[in-house]
């Protein structure tokens, strides 16, 4: 099982002949991801890492069934690439680039939704169904198959936590990066719901951060719908209010989305909240 992607997912890499695209395509292939096509306008007919390159997604989709596409595309061109992928029939879209204008993101996310397409990101490390398929940029070695579902707003913090899981012998079902931007495709609630229905997943780690109210909504959802145990870590306890801390999402404005508010909401519905990342595996072992 696992959620959203699995061992049968066929993946296209948009921007595969660029530096980032090439490097991470290689890593994904090494992880076992079925990359069937790369897209780079003007480079059609070439091969990268044994994968055929096409000029357009439409051309790639004529030759291959494409289930998912991942964007290694500069932010100003990401909207166009996303629409191209949706138009070509991809049902999962992984948006890696950061700094995509928020108006473009809203268009991408709403258009995808109207077409039944799942958007992971933008500004996400991607998604890994451990042991089966990795789409995005996380380092391969820590992602081993197991029973823990992970959903997070931040990338490297997720690696930190998945790394801690690995050191403690805990594998994952699927690890989902929601993305750090203001308008992203998936919410904690969307992913928690999928984990709840995934037989492989026995417990869930939620990696939140200050700003917004996604964690509070997750708490409500957990109360009403989740039977599986959830452990959380919320970053940003020591962040000063009103300062942008890198993620557009991680800004405390007008007294909303505070660290304390989030922790309280989660604890109230029975979620164990770790004070520091390295405590997560211990809390998990208690509930598994």
């Amino acid at each position: 099982m696992a959620i959203i992607i699995d061992e049968n997912t066929q993946v296209a890499v948009q921007g595969m002949t660029g530096n980032q695209g090439r490097f991470h395509a290689k890593q994904m292939l090494a992880y076992g991801t079925k990359i069937v096509a790369g897209i780079s306008p003007g480079k059609g007919g070439q091969e990268v890492e044994g994968v055929p390159i096409y000029d357009t997604m439409t051309a790639a989709a004529q030759d291959n069934r494409i289930d998912a596409s991942v964007l290694f595309i500069p932010a100003p061109f990401a909207k166009d690439a996303a629409f191209e992928a949706i138009d070509a029939g991809a049902k999962v879209l992984v948006g890696v680039p950061e700094h995509i204008p928020v108006h473009d993101e809203m268009e991408i996310v709403n258009y995808a939704k109207s077409k039944g397409v799942i958007v992971v990101g933008p500004n996400s490390f991607g998604i890994v169904s451990s042991g089966k398929c990795k789409i995005g940029i996380p380092p391969n070695q820590f992602f081993t198959e197991g029973q823990v579902g992970v959903v997070a707003r931040s990338g490297t913090l997720t690696y930190e936590i998945v790394g801690n899981l690995a050191m403690n012998g805990l594998g994952q079902s699927t690890v989902v990066g929601l993305g750090g931007d203001r308008a992203v495709g998936l919410s904690f609630v969307d992913v928690l719901e999928k984990f709840e229905h995934d037989p492989q997943t026995k417990a869930i780690v939620m990696v939140g951060e200050i700003g917004g109210n996604a964690e509070e909504q997750a708490a409500e959802f957990i109360k009403a719908n989740m039977t599986k145990p959830v452990v959380a870590y919320i970053a940003g306890k020591s962040a000063p209010p009103g300062k942008r801390m890198g993620h557009a999402g991680a800004i405390i404005e007008r007294g909303k989305g505070t660290f304390d508010g989030k922790v309280e909401a989660l604890q109230e519905v029975g979620v164990q909240v770790a004070a520091l990342p390295f405590e997560v595996p211990g809390l998990l072992k208690k509930v598994l």
């Binding site: 950061e98 820590f142 990338g155 308008a183 495709g185 917004g212 890198g246 993620h247 991680a250 990342p277």
Partner: protein, 369 residues
């Protein structure tokens, strides 16, 4: 990027939203001249990026050119809510029949722009009762449709000529929000003045990520010198005033690092997200930046994903060779190309941690020593 009130109002005027007659000035002489032109009572408003200028003494009325000059003299150069005043907006004092609230912003949860309106304006929207606030989403694939204007007018209690005014205003404002890549457009108060709706204030924030295509947007600099430099290097950098300089990659990781340092009793000097995939050169410059702020210790915390550990290690060794580093540096590295990185560091006599909280404890200890 937040705009000054007068910049927002210039955009309003461009999109057909009525604003009071007036102009931005930077001297008492100019203020007097504008007051003369207007020929009635004017209001002299400090142009700073804070919402509470009135309380800080940053807004004054003047009945004639002399009074305007005097008011300008008083306000220019003063500090309002922590911001130095360099510019003033001098505009006609308008007749206020009623104050309304109107804004458009991004609703993160709905992933759509949202119109927020209330017949109770002039105060902070957070202080208005929820049931008196209209929230109406704009589908980004559809944009403005006149019914949004009609519904807004209805919720603002406007009828007749004022309802028509509201429709026109909304069409312009939504267009502006979209075309100018705004994150926030706020009019508070929106003033009913006879049969006109006048934007008596403006708060406009432009999406930093869209500045590449907003070539005509004015430039407002909120950053400190160091933050400015970091921005030029493509780094997310915020000064925090403590004594442990921190470099981490990824915003979440950087926040987690701050939290961990704080947890062990340390005081972070800054937030620095070195980002994903920054090369060796940028990393070296980021290090220089950290050292420039004279911390008591430096903590480099890297979990390599898109960032490669060996790049960071090489950058560190390069800086170390080129200059004296007067404070202790604690390095923690794990992830992509970790092996190579540790080898590079150890060849240069530097030891690195693999576990984050152990490294954090160490750097707090060293900073206190």
């Amino acid at each position: 990027m937040k705009l000054f009130e007068y910049m927002g109002k210039e955009l309003f005027a461009e999109y057909g939203v009525t604003v009071p007659k007036g102009r931005v000035v930077t001297s008492p002489e100019e203020a007097a001249k504008v007051a003369q032109e207007i020929g009635s009572t004017v209001v002299v408003k400090s142009q700073v990026l804070s919402g509470k200028r009135g309380k800080g003494g940053g807004i004054k009325f003047a009945d004639n050119a002399e009074e305007a000059s005097a008011a300008a003299k008083e306000i220019l150069g003063m500090t309002v809510q922590g911001y130095k005043v360099d510019a003033l907006l001098v505009e006609e004092k308008i007749q206020i029949d009623k104050e309304l609230y109107l804004s458009i912003t991004v609703d993160t949860a709905a992933k759509m722009p949202v119109i927020i309106a209330s017949a109770d304006g002039g105060m902070e929207i957070e202080d208005v009762a929820e049931e008196k606030i209209m929230k109406k989403h704009i589908d980004p694939l559809v944009g403005f449709s006149p019914y949004l204007g009609r519904e807004t007018a209805r919720r603002l209690g406007l009828t007749g000529a004022l309802a028509k005014e509201a429709n026109k205003l909304m069409a312009g404002l939504v267009k502006m929000f979209h075309e100018k890549d705004a994150e926030l457009v706020e009019i508070n108060p929106l003033v009913i003045s006879g049969e006109r709706l006048i934007a008596a204030d403006s708060k406009v924030t432009i999406d930093d990520d869209a500045l590449f295509r907003q070539k005509e947007a004015p430039v407002v600099e909120e950053r400190t010198e160091t933050e400015k430099k970091a921005h030029e290097l493509g780094l997310a950098f915020v000064e925090l005033g403590g004594d442990i300089a921190i470099m981490a990659n990824g915003a979440g990781m950087a926040m987690g690092t701050l939290d961990t340092i704080s947890y062990y009793g340390g005081s972070p000097a800054n937030f620095l997200d070195a980002g994903g995939g920054t090369g060796m050169e940028e990393t070296a410059q980021a290090l220089e930046l950290l050292l420039a702020n004279k911390p008591k210790a430096v903590f480099i915390n890297i979990f390599g994903g898109i960032t490669r550990c060996d790049d960071v290690a090489n950058a560190f060794i390069q800086v170390k060779k080129s200059r004296e580093i007067p404070v202790p540096v604690v390095i923690r590295m794990v992830g992509t190309n970790e092996e190579e990185a540790l080898k590079i560091l150890s060849e240069n006599g530097v030891e690195a941690y693999k576990v984050m909280h152990e490294a954090a404890q160490k750097v707090v200890e060293l900073a206190k020593a």
